[in-house]
Protein backbone atom coordinates (compact mmCIF):
# COMPACT_ATOMS: atom_id res chain seq x y z
CA UNK A 1 0.00 0.00 0.00
CA UNK A 2 2.81 2.40 0.95
CA UNK A 3 4.67 1.66 -2.29
CA UNK A 4 1.49 2.22 -4.21
CA UNK A 5 0.72 5.48 -2.49
CA UNK A 6 4.23 6.82 -2.94
CA UNK A 7 3.95 6.29 -6.69
CA UNK A 8 0.54 7.89 -7.01
CA UNK A 9 -0.59 11.47 -6.94
CA UNK A 10 -4.05 12.79 -6.28
CA UNK A 11 -4.14 14.21 -9.77
CA UNK A 12 -3.37 10.84 -11.36
CA UNK A 13 -6.16 9.20 -9.41
CA UNK A 14 -8.61 11.95 -10.29
CA UNK A 15 -7.79 11.90 -13.98
CA UNK A 16 -8.09 8.09 -14.09
CA UNK A 17 -11.51 8.09 -12.51
CA UNK A 18 -13.29 11.14 -13.83
CA UNK A 19 -13.67 10.18 -17.49
CA UNK A 20 -16.92 8.79 -18.82
CA UNK A 21 -17.22 5.08 -17.92
CA UNK A 22 -14.10 5.14 -15.75
CA UNK A 23 -16.05 3.90 -12.75
CA UNK A 24 -17.71 1.07 -14.66
CA UNK A 25 -15.07 -1.57 -13.77
CA UNK A 26 -15.44 -0.65 -10.12
CA UNK A 27 -19.23 -0.93 -10.29
CA UNK A 28 -18.99 -4.20 -12.21
CA UNK A 29 -16.62 -5.66 -9.62
CA UNK A 30 -18.80 -4.50 -6.73
CA UNK A 31 -21.95 -5.92 -8.30
CA UNK A 32 -20.41 -9.25 -9.29
CA UNK A 33 -18.72 -9.54 -5.89
CA UNK A 34 -22.01 -8.95 -4.09
CA UNK A 35 -23.80 -11.55 -6.20
CA UNK A 36 -20.91 -13.97 -5.64
CA UNK A 37 -21.18 -13.55 -1.86
CA UNK A 38 -24.92 -14.15 -2.03
CA UNK A 39 -24.36 -17.34 -4.03
CA UNK A 40 -21.72 -18.52 -1.54
CA UNK A 41 -23.97 -17.78 1.42
CA UNK A 42 -26.95 -19.60 -0.03
CA UNK A 43 -25.24 -22.65 -1.49
CA UNK A 44 -21.92 -23.06 0.28
CA UNK A 45 -23.04 -22.40 3.86
CA UNK A 46 -25.18 -25.56 4.05
CA UNK A 47 -22.43 -27.51 2.29
CA UNK A 48 -19.86 -26.30 4.82
CA UNK A 49 -22.16 -27.21 7.72
CA UNK A 50 -22.78 -30.70 6.39
CA UNK A 51 -19.06 -31.19 5.79
CA UNK A 52 -18.28 -30.02 9.32
CA UNK A 53 -20.81 -32.41 10.83
CA UNK A 54 -19.76 -35.27 8.55
CA UNK A 55 -23.33 -35.94 7.49
CA UNK A 56 -22.72 -35.84 3.73
CA UNK A 57 -22.25 -39.16 1.95
CA UNK A 58 -18.67 -39.63 0.74
CA UNK A 59 -17.36 -36.64 2.70
CA UNK A 60 -13.76 -37.18 1.53
CA UNK A 61 -14.88 -36.87 -2.09
CA UNK A 62 -16.55 -33.53 -1.37
CA UNK A 63 -13.54 -32.30 0.53
CA UNK A 64 -11.25 -33.38 -2.30
CA UNK A 65 -13.45 -31.44 -4.72
CA UNK A 66 -13.19 -28.31 -2.60
CA UNK A 67 -9.43 -28.72 -2.20
CA UNK A 68 -8.94 -29.28 -5.92
CA UNK A 69 -10.66 -26.04 -6.78
CA UNK A 70 -8.51 -24.35 -4.14
CA UNK A 71 -5.28 -25.78 -5.49
CA UNK A 72 -5.94 -25.57 -9.21
CA UNK A 73 -4.37 -22.55 -10.92
CA UNK A 74 -7.17 -20.07 -11.69
CA UNK A 75 -6.26 -20.11 -15.39
CA UNK A 76 -6.88 -23.85 -15.45
CA UNK A 77 -10.21 -23.32 -13.65
CA UNK A 78 -11.11 -20.91 -16.45
CA UNK A 79 -10.23 -23.45 -19.11
CA UNK A 80 -12.23 -26.15 -17.36
CA UNK A 81 -15.19 -23.81 -16.98
CA UNK A 82 -15.26 -23.42 -20.77
CA UNK A 83 -15.84 -27.19 -20.96
CA UNK A 84 -18.49 -26.99 -18.27
CA UNK A 85 -20.55 -23.91 -19.08
CA UNK A 86 -19.28 -22.89 -22.54
CA UNK A 87 -21.84 -22.23 -25.30
CA UNK A 88 -21.56 -25.73 -26.80
CA UNK A 89 -21.96 -27.62 -23.53
CA UNK A 90 -25.31 -28.90 -22.20
CA UNK A 91 -25.33 -26.20 -19.54
CA UNK A 92 -24.47 -23.53 -22.10
CA UNK A 93 -27.23 -24.72 -24.42
CA UNK A 94 -29.69 -24.82 -21.55
CA UNK A 95 -28.81 -21.22 -20.62
CA UNK A 96 -29.21 -20.15 -24.24
CA UNK A 97 -32.60 -21.87 -24.44
CA UNK A 98 -33.91 -19.76 -21.59
CA UNK A 99 -36.17 -16.78 -22.42
CA UNK A 100 -33.34 -14.30 -21.77
CA UNK A 101 -30.82 -16.23 -23.94
CA UNK A 102 -28.29 -16.37 -21.15
CA UNK A 103 -24.66 -17.13 -21.82
CA UNK A 104 -21.90 -18.12 -19.45
CA UNK A 105 -19.11 -16.62 -21.55
CA UNK A 106 -18.24 -12.95 -21.70
CA UNK A 107 -21.26 -11.85 -19.72
CA UNK A 108 -21.95 -10.65 -16.19
CA UNK A 109 -23.16 -14.19 -15.43
CA UNK A 110 -19.82 -15.57 -16.64
CA UNK A 111 -17.99 -13.11 -14.41
CA UNK A 112 -20.02 -14.26 -11.40
CA UNK A 113 -19.42 -17.94 -12.24
CA UNK A 114 -15.68 -17.36 -12.49
CA UNK A 115 -15.61 -15.42 -9.23
CA UNK A 116 -17.69 -18.10 -7.47
CA UNK A 117 -15.29 -20.82 -8.60
CA UNK A 118 -12.25 -18.86 -7.52
CA UNK A 119 -13.62 -17.80 -4.14
CA UNK A 120 -15.88 -20.69 -3.08
CA UNK A 121 -13.15 -22.99 -1.75
CA UNK A 122 -11.82 -20.22 0.49
CA UNK A 123 -15.29 -19.74 1.92
CA UNK A 124 -16.09 -23.45 2.26
CA UNK A 125 -12.83 -24.28 4.03
CA UNK A 126 -13.20 -21.33 6.42
CA UNK A 127 -16.90 -21.92 7.06
CA UNK A 128 -16.35 -25.62 7.62
CA UNK A 129 -13.76 -24.82 10.29
CA UNK A 130 -16.14 -22.27 11.84
CA UNK A 131 -18.96 -24.81 12.07
CA UNK A 132 -16.63 -27.53 13.32
CA UNK A 133 -15.68 -25.17 16.13
CA UNK A 134 -19.28 -25.19 17.42
CA UNK A 135 -19.57 -28.05 19.89
CA UNK A 136 -22.28 -30.52 18.88
CA UNK A 137 -23.22 -30.69 22.57
CA UNK A 138 -24.41 -27.08 22.35
CA UNK A 139 -26.75 -28.04 19.55
CA UNK A 140 -27.92 -31.11 21.47
CA UNK A 141 -28.60 -28.95 24.50
CA UNK A 142 -30.67 -26.54 22.43
CA UNK A 143 -32.63 -29.45 20.94
CA UNK A 144 -33.29 -30.90 24.39
CA UNK A 145 -34.59 -27.52 25.46
CA UNK A 146 -37.22 -27.82 22.74
CA UNK A 147 -35.70 -26.31 19.59
CA UNK A 148 -36.18 -27.99 16.22
CA UNK A 149 -33.01 -28.38 14.11
CA UNK A 150 -33.64 -25.27 12.00
CA UNK A 151 -34.22 -23.19 15.08
CA UNK A 152 -31.09 -24.65 16.68
CA UNK A 153 -29.15 -23.65 13.58
CA UNK A 154 -30.53 -20.12 13.68
CA UNK A 155 -30.29 -19.54 17.43
CA UNK A 156 -27.12 -21.44 18.35
CA UNK A 157 -25.04 -22.76 15.46
CA UNK A 158 -25.07 -19.67 13.29
CA UNK A 159 -24.37 -17.13 16.06
CA UNK A 160 -21.55 -19.26 17.45
CA UNK A 161 -20.02 -19.80 14.02
CA UNK A 162 -20.60 -16.19 12.95
CA UNK A 163 -17.10 -14.85 13.69
CA UNK A 164 -15.49 -17.61 11.64
CA UNK A 165 -18.11 -17.32 8.91
CA UNK A 166 -17.52 -13.57 8.74
CA UNK A 167 -13.81 -14.07 8.23
CA UNK A 168 -14.36 -16.79 5.63
CA UNK A 169 -16.84 -14.64 3.75
CA UNK A 170 -14.58 -11.59 3.77
CA UNK A 171 -11.66 -13.65 2.48
CA UNK A 172 -13.94 -14.94 -0.27
CA UNK A 173 -14.88 -11.33 -1.05
CA UNK A 174 -11.23 -10.36 -1.42
CA UNK A 175 -10.66 -13.39 -3.65
CA UNK A 176 -13.71 -12.53 -5.77
CA UNK A 177 -12.62 -8.91 -6.13
CA UNK A 178 -9.19 -9.97 -7.31
CA UNK A 179 -10.32 -12.92 -9.47
CA UNK A 180 -8.36 -12.79 -12.69
CA UNK A 181 -7.21 -16.16 -14.02
CA UNK A 182 -10.59 -17.76 -14.60
CA UNK A 183 -12.15 -14.40 -15.43
CA UNK A 184 -9.81 -13.63 -18.32
CA UNK A 185 -10.72 -16.96 -19.93
CA UNK A 186 -14.52 -16.95 -19.67
CA UNK A 187 -15.46 -13.36 -18.82
CA UNK A 188 -13.17 -10.93 -20.61
CA UNK A 189 -16.18 -8.68 -20.81
CA UNK A 190 -17.63 -6.91 -18.91
CA UNK A 191 -14.45 -5.52 -17.36
CA UNK A 192 -14.04 -5.80 -13.62
CA UNK A 193 -11.19 -4.05 -11.81
CA UNK A 194 -8.54 -6.78 -12.31
CA UNK A 195 -9.08 -6.87 -16.07
CA UNK A 196 -9.16 -3.07 -16.18
CA UNK A 197 -5.76 -3.04 -14.47
CA UNK A 198 -4.42 -5.65 -16.88
CA UNK A 199 -5.72 -3.89 -19.99
CA UNK A 200 -4.61 -0.44 -18.85
CA UNK A 201 -1.16 -1.85 -18.11
CA UNK A 202 -0.99 -3.38 -21.56
CA UNK A 203 -2.26 -0.34 -23.40
CA UNK A 204 -0.97 2.71 -21.53
CA UNK A 205 1.56 1.49 -19.01
CA UNK A 206 2.14 1.12 -15.30
CA UNK A 207 1.37 4.67 -14.21
CA UNK A 208 -2.14 4.55 -15.67
CA UNK A 209 -2.88 1.15 -14.09
CA UNK A 210 -1.86 2.15 -10.58
CA UNK A 211 -5.01 4.16 -9.70
CA UNK A 212 -7.13 1.08 -10.48
CA UNK A 213 -4.81 -1.07 -8.36
CA UNK A 214 -5.31 1.33 -5.49
CA UNK A 215 -9.08 1.21 -5.91
CA UNK A 216 -8.99 -2.58 -5.98
CA UNK A 217 -7.09 -2.67 -2.70
CA UNK A 218 -9.37 -0.10 -1.12
CA UNK A 219 -12.42 -2.11 -2.14
CA UNK A 220 -11.08 -5.58 -1.35
CA UNK A 221 -9.12 -5.16 1.86
CA UNK A 222 -11.24 -3.30 4.44
CA UNK A 223 -13.84 -6.05 4.71
CA UNK A 224 -11.37 -8.83 5.62
CA UNK A 225 -9.52 -6.53 8.01
CA UNK A 226 -12.75 -5.50 9.73
CA UNK A 227 -13.94 -9.10 9.82
CA UNK A 228 -10.71 -10.26 11.45
CA UNK A 229 -10.94 -7.54 14.06
CA UNK A 230 -14.62 -8.27 14.77
CA UNK A 231 -13.98 -12.02 14.91
CA UNK A 232 -11.11 -11.62 17.37
CA UNK A 233 -13.24 -9.36 19.55
CA UNK A 234 -16.22 -11.73 19.47
CA UNK A 235 -14.06 -14.74 20.37
CA UNK A 236 -12.45 -12.80 23.21
CA UNK A 237 -15.86 -11.85 24.58
CA UNK A 238 -17.04 -15.45 24.55
CA UNK A 239 -13.93 -17.15 25.79
CA UNK A 240 -12.67 -14.53 28.18
Amino acid sequence: MIALLTHLSGGAIASALTGPGDLDPLLTSLASGAVTLAVLLVFCTPLSYLLARGTLPFPRVWEAGVLCSLLLPPLVIGLLLIFMVGPFTPIGELLNAMPWHLSATNTFLALVIAEVYESAPYYVVGAQAAFADVEPQMEQQAALLGDRPRRVFRRVTLPLAAPGLGVALSVAWARAMGAFGAVIIIAYHPYGLPLQIYDTLQETGLASALPYALILLVVALPLPLAAFAWSARARRRRRG
Partner: protein, 343 residues
Protein backbone atom coordinates in the same frame (compact mmCIF):
# COMPACT_ATOMS: atom_id res chain seq x y z
CA UNK B 1 -42.66 -42.56 35.82
CA UNK B 2 -39.59 -43.08 33.64
CA UNK B 3 -39.29 -46.57 32.20
CA UNK B 4 -36.41 -47.59 30.00
CA UNK B 5 -35.73 -51.11 28.84
CA UNK B 6 -33.16 -50.94 26.09
CA UNK B 7 -30.32 -52.61 24.26
CA UNK B 8 -27.70 -50.45 22.58
CA UNK B 9 -24.77 -51.79 20.64
CA UNK B 10 -21.42 -50.31 21.40
CA UNK B 11 -18.08 -51.21 19.90
CA UNK B 12 -16.93 -53.52 22.71
CA UNK B 13 -20.23 -54.68 24.22
CA UNK B 14 -23.97 -54.24 24.21
CA UNK B 15 -25.59 -52.10 26.86
CA UNK B 16 -28.61 -53.95 28.23
CA UNK B 17 -30.49 -52.22 30.99
CA UNK B 18 -33.90 -51.81 32.44
CA UNK B 19 -34.57 -48.77 34.62
CA UNK B 20 -37.74 -47.67 36.37
CA UNK B 21 -37.71 -44.33 38.12
CA UNK B 22 -40.81 -43.02 39.85
CA UNK B 23 -41.76 -39.32 39.89
CA UNK B 24 -39.67 -37.55 42.49
CA UNK B 25 -37.33 -40.52 42.76
CA UNK B 26 -33.59 -40.11 42.36
CA UNK B 27 -31.64 -42.96 40.82
CA UNK B 28 -27.87 -42.96 40.60
CA UNK B 29 -26.17 -44.96 37.89
CA UNK B 30 -22.78 -45.88 39.23
CA UNK B 31 -20.00 -47.67 37.42
CA UNK B 32 -16.53 -47.38 35.95
CA UNK B 33 -15.73 -45.17 32.97
CA UNK B 34 -16.95 -46.66 29.71
CA UNK B 35 -19.56 -48.87 31.37
CA UNK B 36 -22.37 -47.46 29.23
CA UNK B 37 -23.89 -45.04 31.75
CA UNK B 38 -23.84 -42.01 29.47
CA UNK B 39 -25.13 -44.14 26.59
CA UNK B 40 -28.17 -45.01 28.66
CA UNK B 41 -28.87 -41.35 29.40
CA UNK B 42 -28.46 -40.48 25.73
CA UNK B 43 -30.96 -43.16 24.77
CA UNK B 44 -33.48 -41.72 27.22
CA UNK B 45 -32.79 -38.21 25.90
CA UNK B 46 -33.23 -39.36 22.30
CA UNK B 47 -29.66 -38.57 21.28
CA UNK B 48 -28.91 -42.24 20.58
CA UNK B 49 -31.27 -44.79 19.08
CA UNK B 50 -31.30 -48.20 20.75
CA UNK B 51 -31.09 -51.41 18.73
CA UNK B 52 -34.02 -52.72 20.69
CA UNK B 53 -36.16 -51.43 23.48
CA UNK B 54 -38.67 -48.99 24.76
CA UNK B 55 -38.51 -45.73 26.68
CA UNK B 56 -41.59 -44.29 28.32
CA UNK B 57 -41.97 -41.11 30.31
CA UNK B 58 -45.14 -40.26 32.16
CA UNK B 59 -47.15 -42.60 29.96
CA UNK B 60 -45.73 -41.15 26.72
CA UNK B 61 -43.82 -43.60 24.56
CA UNK B 62 -40.60 -41.84 23.58
CA UNK B 63 -38.83 -44.73 21.89
CA UNK B 64 -40.11 -48.10 20.83
CA UNK B 65 -38.46 -50.50 18.43
CA UNK B 66 -41.39 -52.89 18.58
CA UNK B 67 -44.20 -52.41 16.11
CA UNK B 68 -45.51 -49.74 15.86
CA UNK B 69 -41.99 -48.31 16.02
CA UNK B 70 -41.76 -44.87 17.53
CA UNK B 71 -39.00 -42.35 18.08
CA UNK B 72 -39.84 -38.95 19.55
CA UNK B 73 -37.07 -36.48 18.61
CA UNK B 74 -35.14 -34.83 21.46
CA UNK B 75 -36.91 -31.49 21.06
CA UNK B 76 -40.27 -33.05 21.83
CA UNK B 77 -39.22 -35.28 24.72
CA UNK B 78 -39.18 -32.70 27.51
CA UNK B 79 -36.16 -34.42 29.01
CA UNK B 80 -33.50 -32.24 30.58
CA UNK B 81 -29.86 -33.26 30.40
CA UNK B 82 -27.15 -31.63 32.46
CA UNK B 83 -23.61 -32.68 31.62
CA UNK B 84 -20.22 -32.00 33.12
CA UNK B 85 -19.94 -29.14 30.64
CA UNK B 86 -23.10 -27.24 31.52
CA UNK B 87 -23.48 -26.11 27.90
CA UNK B 88 -24.30 -22.49 28.61
CA UNK B 89 -24.70 -20.68 25.29
CA UNK B 90 -21.74 -18.29 25.31
CA UNK B 91 -23.35 -15.73 23.02
CA UNK B 92 -26.37 -15.21 25.28
CA UNK B 93 -26.59 -13.49 28.64
CA UNK B 94 -27.55 -15.48 31.72
CA UNK B 95 -31.09 -14.14 31.43
CA UNK B 96 -31.36 -15.20 27.78
CA UNK B 97 -29.91 -18.59 28.63
CA UNK B 98 -32.50 -19.06 31.35
CA UNK B 99 -35.38 -18.23 29.06
CA UNK B 100 -33.97 -20.08 26.09
CA UNK B 101 -36.59 -22.82 26.04
CA UNK B 102 -39.60 -22.00 23.88
CA UNK B 103 -42.16 -20.63 26.31
CA UNK B 104 -39.42 -20.00 28.86
CA UNK B 105 -40.04 -16.28 28.50
CA UNK B 106 -43.70 -16.53 29.44
CA UNK B 107 -43.35 -15.85 33.12
CA UNK B 108 -40.88 -13.27 34.35
CA UNK B 109 -42.00 -14.04 37.87
CA UNK B 110 -41.04 -17.66 37.48
CA UNK B 111 -37.65 -16.71 36.07
CA UNK B 112 -37.07 -14.44 39.03
CA UNK B 113 -38.16 -17.17 41.44
CA UNK B 114 -35.88 -19.78 39.90
CA UNK B 115 -32.95 -17.36 39.76
CA UNK B 116 -33.59 -16.52 43.39
CA UNK B 117 -33.74 -20.17 44.43
CA UNK B 118 -30.49 -20.87 42.63
CA UNK B 119 -28.75 -17.78 43.95
CA UNK B 120 -28.06 -16.28 40.51
CA UNK B 121 -30.37 -13.26 40.63
CA UNK B 122 -27.41 -10.90 40.55
CA UNK B 123 -25.98 -12.52 37.44
CA UNK B 124 -28.89 -12.18 35.04
CA UNK B 125 -27.19 -9.56 32.86
CA UNK B 126 -23.78 -11.23 32.94
CA UNK B 127 -22.29 -13.07 29.98
CA UNK B 128 -21.35 -16.71 30.57
CA UNK B 129 -17.63 -16.07 30.26
CA UNK B 130 -17.82 -14.22 33.59
CA UNK B 131 -19.38 -17.16 35.45
CA UNK B 132 -17.51 -19.56 37.73
CA UNK B 133 -18.01 -23.30 37.31
CA UNK B 134 -20.59 -23.49 40.07
CA UNK B 135 -22.51 -20.48 38.77
CA UNK B 136 -22.57 -21.96 35.26
CA UNK B 137 -24.06 -25.17 36.65
CA UNK B 138 -26.70 -23.21 38.51
CA UNK B 139 -27.62 -21.36 35.33
CA UNK B 140 -27.82 -24.64 33.39
CA UNK B 141 -30.00 -26.11 36.10
CA UNK B 142 -32.24 -23.05 36.10
CA UNK B 143 -32.58 -23.30 32.34
CA UNK B 144 -33.76 -26.91 32.67
CA UNK B 145 -36.22 -25.98 35.41
CA UNK B 146 -37.68 -23.17 33.32
CA UNK B 147 -38.01 -25.56 30.39
CA UNK B 148 -40.37 -27.62 32.57
CA UNK B 149 -38.71 -30.93 31.80
CA UNK B 150 -40.58 -34.08 32.73
CA UNK B 151 -37.36 -35.88 33.65
CA UNK B 152 -33.93 -34.76 34.75
CA UNK B 153 -30.79 -36.54 33.56
CA UNK B 154 -27.50 -35.59 35.17
CA UNK B 155 -24.34 -36.87 33.52
CA UNK B 156 -21.52 -36.44 36.03
CA UNK B 157 -22.50 -32.80 36.27
CA UNK B 158 -20.25 -31.86 39.14
CA UNK B 159 -16.98 -33.41 38.01
CA UNK B 160 -14.25 -30.84 38.35
CA UNK B 161 -16.03 -28.78 40.99
CA UNK B 162 -14.75 -28.56 44.53
CA UNK B 163 -16.24 -30.81 47.22
CA UNK B 164 -18.21 -28.12 49.02
CA UNK B 165 -19.76 -26.85 45.81
CA UNK B 166 -20.59 -30.41 44.75
CA UNK B 167 -22.36 -30.99 48.03
CA UNK B 168 -24.40 -27.80 47.85
CA UNK B 169 -25.39 -28.43 44.22
CA UNK B 170 -26.32 -32.04 45.00
CA UNK B 171 -28.57 -30.89 47.84
CA UNK B 172 -30.06 -28.20 45.64
CA UNK B 173 -30.88 -30.61 42.82
CA UNK B 174 -32.24 -33.24 45.19
CA UNK B 175 -34.55 -30.63 46.73
CA UNK B 176 -35.74 -29.45 43.33
CA UNK B 177 -36.44 -33.01 42.16
CA UNK B 178 -38.56 -33.53 45.26
CA UNK B 179 -40.35 -30.24 44.80
CA UNK B 180 -41.10 -30.79 41.10
CA UNK B 181 -41.72 -34.49 41.51
CA UNK B 182 -39.86 -35.47 38.35
CA UNK B 183 -37.82 -38.65 37.94
CA UNK B 184 -34.09 -37.97 38.04
CA UNK B 185 -31.14 -40.10 36.99
CA UNK B 186 -27.61 -39.20 37.98
CA UNK B 187 -24.58 -40.77 36.34
CA UNK B 188 -21.63 -40.86 38.68
CA UNK B 189 -18.36 -42.67 38.97
CA UNK B 190 -17.79 -41.53 42.53
CA UNK B 191 -19.74 -43.57 45.04
CA UNK B 192 -20.02 -40.79 47.60
CA UNK B 193 -21.62 -38.49 45.03
CA UNK B 194 -24.08 -41.18 43.99
CA UNK B 195 -24.96 -41.97 47.61
CA UNK B 196 -25.43 -38.31 48.49
CA UNK B 197 -27.95 -37.85 45.70
CA UNK B 198 -29.82 -41.07 45.23
CA UNK B 199 -32.78 -42.88 46.69
CA UNK B 200 -31.67 -45.92 44.72
CA UNK B 201 -28.31 -46.94 43.40
CA UNK B 202 -27.77 -48.96 40.22
CA UNK B 203 -24.39 -50.47 39.41
CA UNK B 204 -23.56 -50.75 35.73
CA UNK B 205 -20.53 -52.61 34.38
CA UNK B 206 -19.78 -53.22 30.71
CA UNK B 207 -23.38 -52.51 29.81
CA UNK B 208 -24.95 -54.83 32.41
CA UNK B 209 -26.85 -53.77 35.48
CA UNK B 210 -25.22 -55.72 38.30
CA UNK B 211 -27.45 -54.54 41.11
CA UNK B 212 -30.15 -52.00 41.88
CA UNK B 213 -31.21 -51.12 45.39
CA UNK B 214 -31.08 -48.67 48.25
CA UNK B 215 -27.58 -47.17 48.37
CA UNK B 216 -26.85 -48.48 51.84
CA UNK B 217 -28.05 -51.96 50.93
CA UNK B 218 -26.02 -52.06 47.73
CA UNK B 219 -22.87 -50.91 49.49
CA UNK B 220 -23.18 -53.26 52.43
CA UNK B 221 -24.54 -56.25 50.54
CA UNK B 222 -23.11 -56.26 47.03
CA UNK B 223 -24.81 -58.83 44.84
CA UNK B 224 -21.54 -60.07 43.38
CA UNK B 225 -17.84 -59.85 43.84
CA UNK B 226 -17.59 -57.61 40.75
CA UNK B 227 -20.17 -55.25 42.21
CA UNK B 228 -18.19 -55.23 45.43
CA UNK B 229 -14.98 -54.40 43.57
CA UNK B 230 -16.68 -51.48 41.85
CA UNK B 231 -18.10 -50.19 45.11
CA UNK B 232 -14.64 -50.13 46.61
CA UNK B 233 -14.07 -53.46 48.35
CA UNK B 234 -10.32 -53.80 48.02
CA UNK B 235 -9.63 -57.07 49.84
CA UNK B 236 -11.14 -60.52 49.43
CA UNK B 237 -10.12 -62.88 52.17
CA UNK B 238 -10.59 -66.61 51.60
CA UNK B 239 -12.21 -68.70 54.31
CA UNK B 240 -10.19 -71.89 54.67
CA UNK B 241 -13.12 -74.02 55.72
CA UNK B 242 -15.40 -72.83 52.88
CA UNK B 243 -13.64 -73.78 49.70
CA UNK B 244 -13.43 -70.78 47.46
CA UNK B 245 -15.72 -68.48 49.46
CA UNK B 246 -14.22 -65.11 50.19
CA UNK B 247 -15.15 -62.25 52.48
CA UNK B 248 -15.19 -58.78 50.95
CA UNK B 249 -13.33 -56.22 53.01
CA UNK B 250 -14.08 -52.56 52.41
CA UNK B 251 -11.32 -50.27 53.66
CA UNK B 252 -13.86 -48.07 55.44
CA UNK B 253 -15.61 -51.04 57.09
CA UNK B 254 -12.61 -52.04 59.16
CA UNK B 255 -11.94 -51.27 62.83
CA UNK B 256 -8.72 -51.80 64.71
CA UNK B 257 -8.45 -54.66 67.18
CA UNK B 258 -10.24 -57.97 67.55
CA UNK B 259 -14.01 -57.67 67.83
CA UNK B 260 -15.31 -61.16 67.03
CA UNK B 261 -18.90 -60.13 67.67
CA UNK B 262 -18.80 -57.49 64.94
CA UNK B 263 -17.35 -59.43 62.04
CA UNK B 264 -14.28 -61.13 60.70
CA UNK B 265 -11.12 -60.69 62.75
CA UNK B 266 -7.99 -60.57 60.67
CA UNK B 267 -4.40 -60.65 61.81
CA UNK B 268 -1.44 -60.03 59.61
CA UNK B 269 1.65 -58.07 58.81
CA UNK B 270 1.53 -54.44 57.83
CA UNK B 271 3.14 -54.14 54.39
CA UNK B 272 2.41 -50.49 53.79
CA UNK B 273 1.05 -47.45 55.54
CA UNK B 274 0.31 -43.90 54.42
CA UNK B 275 -1.84 -40.93 55.46
CA UNK B 276 -5.31 -40.92 53.92
CA UNK B 277 -7.69 -38.04 54.58
CA UNK B 278 -7.94 -37.49 58.31
CA UNK B 279 -6.61 -40.97 59.11
CA UNK B 280 -4.28 -43.65 57.85
CA UNK B 281 -4.47 -46.28 55.19
CA UNK B 282 -2.66 -49.53 55.84
CA UNK B 283 -2.19 -52.62 53.73
CA UNK B 284 -2.30 -55.78 55.76
CA UNK B 285 -1.00 -59.12 54.45
CA UNK B 286 -3.18 -61.90 55.83
CA UNK B 287 -2.00 -65.22 54.45
CA UNK B 288 -2.92 -65.33 50.78
CA UNK B 289 -4.77 -62.00 50.66
CA UNK B 290 -3.91 -58.38 51.14
CA UNK B 291 -6.46 -56.16 52.84
CA UNK B 292 -6.55 -52.38 52.70
CA UNK B 293 -8.00 -50.65 55.73
CA UNK B 294 -8.51 -47.03 56.72
CA UNK B 295 -8.04 -46.38 60.38
CA UNK B 296 -8.27 -43.24 62.49
CA UNK B 297 -5.05 -44.03 64.35
CA UNK B 298 -1.64 -44.64 62.86
CA UNK B 299 -1.15 -48.41 62.64
CA UNK B 300 2.06 -50.34 63.26
CA UNK B 301 5.02 -49.59 61.01
CA UNK B 302 5.61 -51.75 57.95
CA UNK B 303 6.62 -55.22 59.06
CA UNK B 304 4.71 -54.97 62.36
CA UNK B 305 1.79 -57.19 63.34
CA UNK B 306 -1.73 -55.83 63.36
CA UNK B 307 -5.15 -57.16 64.19
CA UNK B 308 -8.27 -55.63 62.66
CA UNK B 309 -11.94 -56.54 62.32
CA UNK B 310 -13.79 -56.36 59.00
CA UNK B 311 -17.24 -55.32 60.14
CA UNK B 312 -20.00 -57.64 58.94
CA UNK B 313 -18.36 -58.41 55.59
CA UNK B 314 -20.29 -59.75 52.61
CA UNK B 315 -19.28 -63.21 51.39
CA UNK B 316 -18.91 -64.39 47.85
CA UNK B 317 -18.91 -67.83 46.25
CA UNK B 318 -16.17 -68.98 43.87
CA UNK B 319 -18.38 -67.98 40.93
CA UNK B 320 -18.53 -64.44 42.32
CA UNK B 321 -22.15 -64.53 43.48
CA UNK B 322 -22.91 -63.27 46.95
CA UNK B 323 -23.62 -65.66 49.77
CA UNK B 324 -26.64 -64.25 51.51
CA UNK B 325 -26.93 -65.99 54.85
CA UNK B 326 -29.02 -64.58 57.68
CA UNK B 327 -27.24 -61.86 59.55
CA UNK B 328 -26.41 -64.21 62.45
CA UNK B 329 -24.53 -66.57 60.17
CA UNK B 330 -23.02 -63.94 57.93
CA UNK B 331 -19.60 -65.22 58.77
CA UNK B 332 -18.90 -68.91 58.06
CA UNK B 333 -18.50 -70.96 61.23
CA UNK B 334 -15.58 -73.26 61.97
CA UNK B 335 -11.95 -72.83 62.87
CA UNK B 336 -10.15 -69.89 61.40
CA UNK B 337 -7.20 -70.13 59.08
CA UNK B 338 -3.81 -69.39 60.64
CA UNK B 339 -3.92 -65.71 59.70
CA UNK B 340 -7.66 -65.43 60.27
CA UNK B 341 -7.89 -65.17 64.02
CA UNK B 342 -11.62 -65.57 64.54
CA UNK B 343 -15.12 -64.19 64.12
Amino acid sequence: MLDADVEVDRREFTVRASLHVAPGERLALFGPSGAGKTTLLEVIAGLVRPRRGRVELGGRVLTSTASPACFVPPWRRRVGLLRQDPGIFPHLSVRDNLRYAPGGHRSRTELAQVADALGISGLLSAMPVRLSGGQAHRVALGRLLLAHCDALLLDEPYAGLDAQLRRSLTDLVAGLVDERSVPAVLVAHELAEAQAFADRLAILDRGCLLQVGAPHEVVLRPASRRAAELIGYLGFVPAAEHAGNVAGVHPERVVGGAHPGRGLVLAGTVVGCRPAGAGWEAVLATGTAEVTCRLPERPAQAGGRMVVTAVDPPWFRPDGAAVNPPAASAVPPGPASPEQVGT
